[in-house]
Symmetry: C2
Subunit: 236 residues, 2 copies
DNA sequence: GCTCTCGATACTGTATACAATAAAATCGAC
DNA sequence: GTCGATTTTATTGTATACAGTATCGAGAGC
């Protein structure tokens, strides 16, 4: 899993899949902070790096804009969204309401297979953290929360959680200190325990503390911006 | 308000605003069921009706697809989404969780000005209902719920409610009987009363009953599809 | 030396043209 | 007469070319 999906490899998949791959490469790069908030994303440059025309790039940028990972300024183009403190508060309040509210349903539907899958995800996350890949760990943590929401069986809410987790990753990447990661090492394992025991109310309370702890760990200090080298980041 | 924004008037607004107008015309047409679920939306036809090139239309269709008002099938093009019963359940469960959870915050921030604005919206809704414009009333009802969510001060959750209300309108347009509208005549006024009195808990309970009542009023019978005449619908 | 204006440049916004593919219709065979 | 294969057509996917606009730099005036 080392440096992950680094280079898109210029594989000539047909249509659909190619765009999806570019989308994922971009969103991962943003979430893992290889593309830092404020970085401009020029259509020409991206088109060249990924070997597609600007048409396809624009489609992807628009999607990322709707998910609020990039900001689309009318005649200035796209740039990686720089989340504000207010937005951060809204996002974590929303997660508090939705994710906690989902826990009873998740507990009800949690089976052996699901629990095993979640434990595996938690394990991968710890491993990334141990090997110093903090930003990768942040993304894996988000994946965990999303998978959890999907287990509730409500697709609409799961999608919202997915959006909120993406934004959270961006927020964590910007405002989280190095060394003090948002999700404590064993929180996720403890949570799985409560859910597997069918104790929805306890899981709900635990999730609430868990999210509060993440939010409390943020330090609201902004970093400076710099010009990104797309070729280096994507290895194109 | 009669036949509303029927023809886009071919006004040559510059760029931004033009697309926004087309987007609104389309989403309103879908929500008010002038474009029925399953109706195909051909890019050429839309481009001609709205006097823009396919490029702009595609952008708008993609946005509508993300909001799940239209369904984008890979090489088949766009069609108005036909919500399933499962989706309807998810949407109303999600509204139950989010909108009810928001009521305490809304009650806390509700002032005289906000209450007056909401009462005016409720009045317009009743008026549309009285004059037999059921689908317009459905849209106005959605606007009311969205405005309410915005008053909570949480932009992220307000956006989610907006999405859920759009989908609800589509669901109501499809599954609601004629004559028995989702939102009862005075429910919204009663709700404003509780909120203005600062009684968040009571408002929360009332909203819960309100949403349950809407969902219970649905009859899960599907209608047949037919080919739409875009020129007639948009008056182009 | 500073600021304001004018020009060049770089980038996005939009349309159009071309290629690819899936649905439909027609023709032929059984 | 019906089923199947092939051609035709309709519609989306993609790239490219052109136009418009904002930004940056240079030069002149104060």
């Amino acid at each position: 899993m080392s440096d992950a999906q680094g280079a898109p490899k210029l594989v000539k998949k047909k249509g659909e899949a190619r765009h999806e791959a570019i989308y994922k490469a971009l969103s991962d790069a943003i979430i893992e902070q290889r593309l830092k908030p404020g970085a401009r994303l020029r259509e020409d440059a991206l088109a060249e790096v990924f070997n597609v025309s600007r048409t396809g790039i624009r489609k992807i940028l628009q999607r990322l804009a709707i998910e609020q990972l990039v900001t689309l300024t009318p005649r200035r183009g796209a740039s990686v969204t720089r989340p504000t403190a207010d937005e951060a508060k809204d996002v974590f309040d929303a997660r508090q309401l939705i994710e906690c509210g989902l826990m009873p349903d998740v507990a009800r539907r949690m089976g052996k297979k699901e629990a095993a899958e979640l434990r595996d995800m938690a394990r991968q996350e710890r491993q990334a953290l141990r090997s110093g890949q903090q930003s990768v760990a942040i993304r894996l943590s988000a994946d965990f929360h999303v998978r959890l929401a999907q287990l509730s069986g409500n697709a609409a809410l799961a999608e919202f959680v997915e959006r909120l987790c993406s934004r959270s990753s961006l927020i964590l990447a910007v405002y989280g200190h190095r060394g003090h990661l948002g999700c404590e090492s064993h929180d996720h394992d403890d949570l799985i325990g409560y859910l597997e025991a069918g104790n929805g109310e306890r899981a709900k309370a635990f999730m609430s503390r868990h999210l509060k702890a993440i939010e409390a760990s943020l330090s609201m200090v902004e970093e400076e911006e710099n010009v990104p080298d797309l070729r280096q980041i994507f290895g194109g």
